[in-house]
Symmetry: D2
Subunit: 138 residues, 4 copies
């Protein structure tokens, strides 16, 4: 199963007065993880949008294991857990730089909608890329 | 069971290019919900901190039902689902202004830590306020 | 000259690891200040947009005098400094709750654009409201 | 004069309902610019902090020329304009990926404070690095 990793450096803007990363920022970084996983198999989300498709979130979950701190490099690791007719689930682990310690784990589930906001089937050009590049049939 | 409601107006900063509220902002608003629920029973989180206690998140979950839009007033409704020796769970519903339509539902679970970051029992002054004000024994 | 004040409570999400409000958040709060100043004279920015007009920023400036902290109530005070054919300038002071101490001062300048992004004259229904309600002719 | 460039990809979280980057995010990216400029001459801001020094903002200014959009790669270019006894000024240009079009220009001015929040002289280890690496005497 294809997996993608992106490195991100924590900036001051991401931290809070507890001296650690504010909890919603990990879920914001999940966005970078899934966008780059899709890009790595030839699916550019901005182009999907231009063709009238969106992948709005239906669920998000995050389990906080150990806090990230200012200036730390973290690694967002993303996998596509499933792809159904009209939804997709991504799972994430955010690691410290050496991937010795998992900082958070989580997932997001997405619907596929058209530009009127109606739920539609995931378009075939997405399915094909996923099947081809991820050696997996959903 | 005591329940708290706070009204928030969506600003441009909260929205994204899909024309709706960016998904992590609902989870940011959960913070306002639980802080104001605690304040309503006499627990000021800033004072807890001054006494050396924190309530960092261990889990967050959000189910997205219907998007909020720019300039809309939304209502964050918060309840304390449980309070254990060293953890608390809050559940949230974010409604449209008239509370006719639920926009998101979710929860957060918190540990209680001291100022060294170690997990400790929830201090008795918190338990007493909760028991007294919420007419509930956890 | 008409002036508007809005109270805002600082949340954890607004703070950073220095234990104070992260600097861009004051500029985000300027948005609330000008939106509510306009609303107070009958101009709802969301309706302007629905009619095809936007007021994108062309300049922003902020002078940081004294930091705001977690859970503090701050007061955003906004005035319209000028209104020209195709631009507007708002000036802001953010105070502590008692308005004894100015925390930041700043301004934003805005162009008026149509829904193609072209700069256009500020529509007459805006000028009229401003003249009428602010007892001022620009 | 030493100059630093960092590439950043715009994510959904950075955009707003106007379909462009929300205006405070450019100022947030200025932070990445100056941190990486300092790092490139051997000054790690996190280490400065560990030694008890901070560089809080005293002023920020941003001139918006052309909007950045979702998924666009932008280039943050940073220079140190001056370094005085107790303050520093950085100037920034944010470009499109090919550096053909300037999107925003701006500056930030910083005081140097100790861990009690008092303004102090910029420590000599900073001055030396700047003199050495930037071939410039302030």
């Amino acid at each position: 199963m294809k997996r993608n990793r992106v490195n991100i450096r924590v900036i001051y803007a991401d931290t809070d007065a507890m001296g650690i990363v504010y909890h919603t920022n990990y879920i914001k970084w999940f966005e970078i993880g899934r966008t780059e996983l899709l890009r790595s198999v030839g699916i550019v989300y901005a182009e999907m949008e231009a063709q009238g498709y969106n992948l709005p979130l239906t669920e998000a979950y995050c389990n906080y294991l150990s806090p990230a701190k200012y200036d730390q490099i973290i690694v967002v690791e993303t996998e596509l857990e499933y792809l159904k007719r009209a939804s997709m689930k991504f799972v994430y682990t955010i690691w410290d730089e050496d991937r010795q310690k998992a900082l958070v784990e989580g997932y997001t589930i997405h619907a596929c909608t058209n530009n009127l906001g109606k739920i539609v089937r995931i378009p075939s050009f997405i399915l094909e890329k996923v099947n081809e590049q991820m050696q997996i049939k959903f």
